[in-house]
Structure formats: structure tokens, C-alpha cells
Amino acid sequence: MAATPDAARYARLKDLHFELEALPEAQRTPRLREIEATEPEIGAVLRQRFAGSIRALDILDRAEHRERDAATPQLPHYRIVRELGRGGMGRVWLAERELDGARQLVALKQIALAGWSDEDERRFQRERRILATLDHPNIAALVDGGRDAAGAPYLATAYVDGQRLDRWCDDRVAPRRERVRLIRDLAAAIAYAHRKLVVHRDLKPANILVSADGVPKLLDFGIARLLDEDAITATGPSQMTLRYAAPEQVHGDRGGGVGVDVYSLGVLLYELLAGNSPYGKVDGTAALIRAILDAEPVAPTRVAGPVDADLDAICLKALRKRPEDRYPNADAMLADLDRWLAGDPVDARRGERGYRLRAFLARHWLAVFATVAVVAGALAFVAFHVATLDRQLAETERERDKAKAVASYFQELFASANPGATRDSDLTARELLSRSVARLEQGDTTTMGDDARASMFHAAGRIMAHQGLADEAARMFDRALDLWLALPEVPENDVADAYNERARLLFGRGEYQESLRLMQTALARREAMGDVASWQLGGLLQQTSVTLRALGRNAEATATLERSVAILAQQLPDSRSNYATALGNLGTFMVIEGRVEEGHAKLKEALEQLGQLKPERTPAVLALTRNFAMSLRELARFEEADRAYSALLARQRAFYGEHHIENARTMHSFAQTRLVERRLDEAEQLLDGATAIEVALGNEDDPRLLAYQADRARIRIAQQRYQAAVDLLAPVLVQRERGVFSERSFADAERAALAYAQCRLAPSPELAARIREAVVAMQKSPPLPRMLVPQAEGWARDCAQS
């Protein structure tokens, strides 16, 4: 080759090239030899050219592929009738397939070679696999697939003799109802595909043909994606039609969940109702992208009346910019379209904007709203729930970005779970969680900032905590804290929340001291912020008080709780659920401390506050009602107490079922009331019931059983079966000595009872002294029921006299 290509050489080369090319193949070789003889350098170049051994050059090859794509495919058993259409991906022909004498019209699809790559190949094979799994009256069925002579794969689907969706409607001037019905049928097909884990991602009129009798069929799953596949299979906007694309597709979000199809259905519905695009008249790609991302469409039936607010709501709900604000899946949209067709009120109009997010979060965060019982014979506090629902939601909505990240994360998580569940019923919430956490930890949520990631760890931690996965939850909270504390601007509210929940896990494990330490860290951070009255501070103080109580620092606990209640009262009505909980706890503390009237009033108000919350916080209401019934007993209003307990038990059984720990707690509290009333048989039956539940739940080692046993012993004393009472009480007290957690007052009462029973068997001054000693302790720190104190005082006199 020439080192410096000059004009003469080039001209000569070109002339000879043209000459050779024009020659028939047979004459080319002799002519080449002639050239080589006289012009060896140019001859060698030309020989290479015509031998086809030229350098491959991607850029030039692709230009040539475009040409080859214009040719029709040659396939055995197929006769090409005509071209049906072409798009970015390739071309589609109408072909007649003849096999074993059977003839069928098919749509034959091949991918353009110009864009051909390994990934295209995979995608094409995937479409074939996807289609093979889909069998639905509104989806064009797969007929055949394979490779042509050149090795290029092809797909054949049943040919649908119909018109494009939009033209079909235009030609018939189809009434509105008919248009909605078409979209409804398509939504059914899409919902079906979603259940098969397939997202279509390219819904548009060109992909939807309607037969003469009005049956719409979905074609072309060319860029469909399997929900459980990795993002490698996803493709960008260059392969879809922008006008029907969802904002997240335009953003280049490679995944794109079921929300993408919901959005496209919304655009289709909009166009059929309004007669124009939701974006109005927009020209140019950039303008269209802007409109997709930002423009809020006018209600479609306002564009082309008569106005139908329900239909507008359905359409606009599908067209929300954020996937989590749309219908969660095609099934939900289908259900609403069916409601409209049936004349029922539609879901889309329920509540204000953001309803879905609220409802979604409420479903999961309500679960976090749990009650924690202080392990002690007779009482259970309605403990803090840290995820203060109402304010939490308000906060969440304020912090839009994070809310979006968290919600779409869960949205995706659960959207992908639902179809999965039908295929694989073993897919548990737990597996889902660990799957999602793995994703979080891999950090494939690259669009997310550290703050948002921390929020997700936090949210995942809450759900795990609720699922009883304490260790995993603790790890999640720690990850969230690490991320948040490293931010240039530390989000103190979130940090305090995370500390709080981390502390709560420790509390659950009985590590009260460490739990308290974390609480105090959070409190100190709040004080440093100058926080004296926020709802978060109120919540923190509430939890701190419960922890203090568990550590036996009762006076501090009550004072802390009073401060919490005062703060939360200022934040009403937003703090209502938190306030009610704190107030209920305070009322309970007061009853225990002997401020029975005051405590009863607080419990009553707490119940009233809780009653105003929608949806009802049933577990909290039930737990508070138990303490309320107990306060009635302490006030010696036995008839009311009995009625309250009976009603409560019935409600609990309906809510929790038969064997639930909460039922056992209520039965125990009720049993103590019966005991005070000296209705011994009923008391014993209730204790039997409570014990049976604990045994059924495998709680034989729980300290609660000691309290049951002590109460059984009290029944024996009342029955004057003193030896039986001693046999029951002695092991209880051995356990108490070992320091199994309890309120000290219970051990005092149990000691008094044991000494009394022993005294009745064999009186002695020593035993009388032991009772008196216990009585003094009980007077200082009275147990519940408080009637145990005068009873023990009576025992002390009895024993001394005998």
C-alpha cells in the first residue's frame, strides 16, 4: 500500500475497482492477474478487496447492515406476503405458514441486523420465551420461532386481522363506554402478563390490534422484561415509543416495574377519551420529554365532554408521575375500570392525593405499632410505639425525596412479590425482606443518595423488628445510623428515631441498661438541637420512662412520662396516637402507685383519644382496655370491671384468635379480679385458660407463669388448702430470689402469702414477723391488686394471734 495516498493512485485504484466489479465473476480473476503483472501494488490491494478479506470496521459494517435489512427473509414453510411494518427493532412481515398441509397467516418478525448484538439476540430469544408462557385471549399467541438461513432468529405470532386501536375507535366513532371496555380488556391482558412476571413496557396503539368484532390483541413483547430478571435485559428509550413512555422510562430507569405498563395504559385511555395526547400538542423529542416529566395533563373528559369525574380520576391516577402514586398494578386499574363499567364508585377518587402512599405506609408501619409488656404478674403497659404513625406520615410526606425512594422501593418489592406468590407460594415475607436487604446492601439502587438509602435501611429494620428478626433489624438500624451520622448535615430526627428503635430492640432482649443508654444518647442529641417540645422528644421520653420502669426507677419513670404527656398534649391532634399511648401508660403507672382515681381518668381519656383514630389501632385499644378494666377493679367497681373484662376477652378472641398471648394476659388480670371478689372457681378457670395458652405457645419458662402460680396459691389459701398453697409458692419464691425479673412488690406479696400459709400449718412468731416485714415492704411499694395489702395486713394479725 502507498505510504502517501496520492490522487493518481487513488483514481487508478477506483477505476480498476469499478471495472472489476462490473465484470462477471469468471472474467474477474484473469483480469486481476493482468493488473498484478503490470501494477503489483494496486493489484494486490484489489485482490484482497475482491477476495472479501477486508478489515472489519464496525462503523462501516453497520451502515451495510442497514441495507441488508431491506431484504425479505427466506424461510422454509413460510411465504412472505407483504411487509406489515417496521420499527426501531426490525421489520414485521405478513407471511403464510404451511406445515403438514395446514396453512396459517402469521406475523413474522425479524430484528434489524444493523442494530444486532449479543444482547439483541438474548432479548429476541427472551421475547420468544416470554410469549411461550403467555396464553391469553387478548395476547397474540406465539406460533413458531427459529433461525433463518443466515442465522438470524425470527418469531412468528398469530396474525391478527384487525385495526390499530386508535383507528378502530376513530373509524367507528366508538362510544366512550366501548373505548373504556377496550382499555379494560387490555388491562386484563397486562394484569395477566404481570402475574406471569412479564412487564410489556411498550404499550402503544401500534402494538394493539382490534378485530372487527371488537377484541383487542396485544402484540410485540419485544422489549418486555421479566420482573425477576436483572436489569441487563432492560433497554432504554431508544427502543420504545416516547409518547407512551412513563416518566421513569424517560429517566432511563433501567428496571421499570409494573407501573410502566399502568402509565402506558393511562396514556392509551387518555387518548381514547380526549382525542389527543395527555401532553397536548408537543413537537420535538426534548419538548416531549419535558412534558412527560413535568406536564400535568388536563382531565381527559374536560377536553372532550361530557365531563365524567370518575373516569378522569381513573385516567389521571394511572398517569401520576411517580409510580407509587399510580395504581399499584394493572389488576388494581382493571378493578377500577370494572367499577366504572358497573357504575360503582371508583377507587381512584378515594381520598386525597397521596392516599395510596399513606395507605401503603400505614399498612406496614401500623405493624410496627406494637405493645410491649413489662413482665410482671398482673400488668402490662401499653408501651411506646416509636413509629409514631401520624406524625411519621406527615414527616414522610414532607420529606418527599426520601419518601419517594422508600415507597418505590417497597412498591417494587411488593409488586414483584405478588405475581411471584402465585407461582411460588413459598415466597414468604421474610424471604422478600432478605432479598430486598441484599439489594440494598449491594447498593444497586444507584440513583439513591445515602440519606435515602439510610431511610430504606431504617424502614427495612422496622419491618424486620416487627417480624421478630431482632438481630437483622438491629443491623439495619446500625447501617442507617452509620450513613446518617456521616452526612454533612445529620438528620437529627431520623437519627433519634433510629436510636430509639435500636434501644427498643435491646429492651425486648431485656438489656435495659444498654437500652437506656441509647435513649439518653438520643435525648442528648435532641437537647443539643434545642428541642424542648417536639413530638419526637415526647416519644423518646415515653420510651425512656418505660425503660426506667423496667429498671425499677419508678419515680423517675413517672416523672419522665408526665413530661412526655405534657409535650405530646401540645402537639395534638397530630400526636394523637402517641399521646394516647403515653397517657395510657401514665394512667397505668398512677394506678400502680395508688393514685387510682387520677390514673383511671387518664386511662379513660387515653381510650377516648385512641377511639378518634382512623383506622382503629385495635391492638392498642385492646391493651389499654385491659388496664382500664383493671383500674375499675382497683376502684372496687367490680360489676363494671367484670363487664369490661368479659367484653374485652370476646373482642380479643375475635381479633387475635383463641391462642394469643394477649388473651392470656387479659385472663390473668380478670382472674385476679375474680380472686379479689372471692369468686374462686371462676378465678381458677381463668388461670387454667391463661396457662393453657402459654403452654400452647411454648412459654413454659416465662416469668409470667410464676405470677399465675402465685395466684393459684392464693386461691388455695382462700380454700384453706394451705399445704397446696405452700407447695405452689415455695418454688415461685426460689425463682424470684434468682432475680427473674419482676416488680419487687410482687415478690413481697408472694412472701407474705407463703409465710401466712406456713403459719396456718404451723404457727410461729418467726412467721408472724416475716409477714409483718413483707407487709411493711408492701405498704411502701404496693402490688396490684392493691387489695393484697389489706389482706396481708389481716394475715399478719391472724398469724400473730394463732
Binding site: Y10, K14, E21, V45, L57, D58, I59, E67, S238
Partner: protein, 191 residues
Amino acid sequence: MGANLDDITGWLVDWQQGDALARDRVFARLYAEMKRLAASVLRSESGHDTMQPTALLNDALMKLIQARAPDVEDRGHFIRVVARAMRQILIDRARRKLAEKRGAGAVPESLDDIDVAGMGSPHELVALDDALSALAKLDARAAAVVEMRVFAGLTIEETAKALDIHPSSVNREWAQASAWLREQLGDGRHA
């Protein structure tokens, strides 16, 4: 910012009606539009090998040509300008990428983060650009054919229409010129 394609079509009418300024305006705006178009497409596609900016350009061009074609000479010129613009954009990117690789420092330009697959490696692009410039000096028509096919994504038939020559001529020119270009890139001077 930028004119949309409808504006440009409107200017084409002015141009046809003899407004000399309109012609400059079309070129200037079209270049800007192409750049913007390429940028937005490149940006929205975060780096996979499905990008085909030429296919996109092709759509836009065909619309323009069919809508209001200026006279034959102008039409060819017009498409060349577009192809030239696209070439310029892609080559600039490729050169910057190469410069970065040699450690000349990063240029903060969003387009640079993205590989335009199907348009070859930066090396290949730059080498092709050089060779194509050389070809233009030797054979302007052949270079125009290559430019239109490679950078504006035109088929043989479309190129023929744009240049107002017979498709078989385009085919011959292309076959010869692309062979020559492959040879130039293959001899090691550009690799």
C-alpha cells in the same frame, strides 16, 4: 432553548422563497438542534449498546426532506450539513475521550461519559474521521456518500435521492470508498 423541527421546517419555506438569511439560520439552528438531540438521547441512554443516534437522525431528516424539500442542490447540501454536524459531535467526543485516556485531564462534558456503541471505539472514529478527510480531498462525492450513510444513517436509496444520483452509483461509490477506508485504517498509521 433551541428550535424544534417545526421551526426549522418553517425556515425552509422562507429559504425556498429566497430569504438568504433563512438558509444560514437553518444551518445554525439545525446544528444546535442536532447537538441537543444527540445530547438528550445520549444522556437518557445510560451507556448500553443499543444507541443508534443515526437512526434517530434519519427519522428527523426524512421528515424534513419529505415535508418541504428545497431545490435539489440545497437538499443535498442540507443533508450533508446534518451529517457533518453529527460527525463533528461524535468525533469531538471521541477525541476528548482519547485525550483523557492519555491523561490530558478530564473534560467535564456529560456526553463524554457515554459510549455510543455502534459508532465504534473512539480510536476507530478518530481514525475514520482522518481517513474521511483525506478521501474528501481525493474524491468529494465518495466522501459525501460515506458521510451520509455513516453519520446521517441514510440507506443507499436515500443517499441516492439526497445526491440526486442513481442508487447503483451510490452502491459502487460506497463499495469502493469503504474498501479504501478500511485499507487506510488497516495499515497501522491510525491504529
